[in-house]
Amino acid sequence: MIKQRLKRIKAIAWKEFIQIERDPRSLSLALGIPIFLLLIFGYGLSLDIDHVATVVWNQDASSKTSRDFLLNFKNSKYFKITGYTDNYRDIERMINNGDTMMALIIPKDFSHYIESGKTAPLQLIVDGSDANTATIAMGYVRSVVSRYNVELLAETFNSKGLKPVKSLDVQPRIWFNEGLVSTWFITPGVIAMIIMIISALLTSLTVAREWERGTMEQLISTPVKAPELVIGKFIPYFTIAFFDLLVGLIMARVLFGVPFRGSYLLLFFLSALFLTGALSQGIIISVVAKSQLMASQLATLTTLLPTLLLSGFIYPIFNMPKFLQAVTYLIPARYYIIILRDLFLKGNGIITLWDEALFLFLFAFVMLSLAIRKFKKKVA
């Protein structure tokens, strides 16, 4: 009995393989999209903010003090001094044009104030149209200035023969992503997104296509059973999606230098669970939709958007309103992204990941049984 079932599953899987191979559209979709997305996100989407364009108006240019102070900006990778000016008109124009992000204005009597032990004002004009970047850039300026202040204090105390005051000194040590490279953080998310989209999109077309072309009519007049059909259709797409996972893994490692510190075996096992869920979701969509256009739209809508916005892929979940945070528990990619990041960067094992793994198992199980049930209803 099982052997006979396998025979049918084999026939369906083989037929599906041939069809994919003969359809340049789905083939390029399956193999092109992952590479394309990884390149775009890997190179294009950098959340790191450095080389903040800064224009300087040093009204006290003749003093050594002001020039020494500016060295702190020149020597930092966080700033890029794009030019010097001597009037506000230029500053306004440059900020309006987007040629610069900030303008730093050192007043005329800057050195005078400092040398006479007074507080020196320093003007900073920031383009706040991108609030996030502006906040971060201002933080950079503050940290440069506070370091300079500490030096000033020390100097003053020294010159008066006093001991420096006690102060706190943070000694940060960053784990997992030591260089705080945002690509390391993004790439695992991109892989999750690719697998989700590819799986759901490809399978969503396969059943809808059979309805559209009338081949389903013939198929359901045969004694083929719903589980056989679902699993048979499943196998080729599982293979493709798994291949995409490998492509993503290799690109992440080789192209973007993301480390992989966990167990490959665990990665493949948990990915298989995620794939099963995503592929089954595609089959459910396909059974419901009955036309290829409708199916692909539904698949994109139900996989791309939640995975992009609600999985913690880019936007941190803890920053979302409570209601949305609750919704994210229903997004399978949320768990898969945690797993990928943990495996890539932290090197965690199943002991820390078991709850995510459990959810993925549930996702796979529920979706697969639902796909088979939906199919059964349509078929007989």
């Binding site: 006979q4 025979k7 049918r8 084999k10 026939a11 369906i12 083989w14 037929k15 041939i18 069809q19 003969r22 359809d23 072309r213 009338g214 081949t215 389903m216 009519e217 013939q218 198929l219 359901i220 007049s221 045969t222 004694p223 083929v224 059973k225 007989a380």
Partner: protein
């Protein structure tokens, strides 16, 4: 003889629309059973219920001894089905299509080769095994579809308008294949809207608007189901006389049939002299008026018209 298919009060509704209205019929084993009717009469819906593709709204029935409401799966093991629309995979080759259905029907490995050759031979597709199905001409596609539906040697085969859109020569050879199948004891359940094809069946029903309005062998249909009579008028330039003849009282209708005119009349004893009189008076030249056995097309047209009339009266 055993019964291959029987249904009782079989009904299918789509929302408010009744596609099949509580019909009863029986098909005997080894019979070529014609299911005739115009487009939209409920032929495909009936066939799809029998094949277990869609469930009936109500009614009972059996196909090959299996209940159509509960044992659809067993039915599917024992029947072949060829749908109205070509439904093999266009993007597979001939060989791949056959292999696919061999797998689906679980043909044992040691028989696969032999059945494959048989299908190719029967469909006349030798040398075209590796051609993409999409590149085959209509008739070949049809025969390939039939071959795939027969792969598992079913006892009953359902053919839904297998000859629509196929040229006359292919149609004729298709019917030869069907007769050959029946001679081997296979029950053939075939729908068509080509009335002339009904002559090839052993028995038939005529379905119209979801109701069975006649049932019988071809000769029974011609003799029993027709209350009117048919006169064949042979005359030169028959098309010019058609309208004049149809206006003669006692003539229900007249239609061109090849080069002749077929008239359906209430009483041939009265109508025949009337036509002869008209043609003689108008100097039509040599002519002949003969009472003939109606063709099935005459029978069906007349049955459907009668049905429509009684339905209008009812409302």
């Amino acid at each position: 003889m055993d019964t291959a298919v029987s249904v009782s009060k079989l009904e299918k509704k789509f929302g408010q629309f009744t596609a099949v209205n509580k019909i009863d019929f029986e098909v005997k084993q080894g019979e070529i059973f014609g299911f005739l009717g115009p487009n939209g009469a409920g032929k495909s819906t009936t066939i799809r219920m029998l094949c277990g593709i869609i469930p009936p709204t109500s009614g009972t029935g059996q196909v090959g001894g299996f209940d159509i409401n509960r044992e659809q799966h067993k039915i599917k093991e024992h029947i072949g089905y060829m749908s109205q629309k070509f439904s093999l995979y266009n993007d597979l080759t001939v060989e791949e299509n056959i292999n696919f259905y061999s797998g689906i029907y679980k043909i044992p490995q040691n028989e696969k080769e032999e059945r494959f050759k048989a299908v190719i031979h029967a469909a006349g597709l030798e040398g075209m095994e590796s051609r993409l199905t999409v590149t085959l001409a209509g008739g070949w596609k049809q025969r390939l579809a039939l071959g795939c539906a027969l792969l598992h040697k079913p006892k009953i085969i359902f053919l839904d308008e297998p000859t629509s859109g196929v040229d006359p020569i292919t149609r004729a050879s298709f019917w030869d294949t069907i007769k050959e199948l029946a001679s081997r004891g296979v029950t053939v359940f075939i729908t068509t809207h080509y009335m002339d094809e009904a002559e090839n069946t052993n028995r038939m029903v005529l379905i119209y608007r979801g109701n069975i309005i006649a049932m019988g062998t071809p000769s029974e249909m011609k003799t029993k189901c027709m209350t009117n009579e048919v006169l064949e008028v042979t005359v030169a330039n028959s098309q010019d006389w058609l309208e004049r003849i149809s206006k003669i009282p006692g003539i229900k209708e007249a239609a061109l049939f090849g080069a002749n005119i077929h008239t359906v009349v209430y009483d041939s004893a009265k109508a025949k002299p009337a036509i002869e009189q008209l043609l003689r008076a108008e100097k039509a030249g040599a002519f002949q008026v003969n009472k003939i056995l109606p063709s099935l097309e005459d029978v069906f047209v007349s049955l459907i018209e009668n049905y429509d009339k009684t339905e209008t009266k009812k409302n």
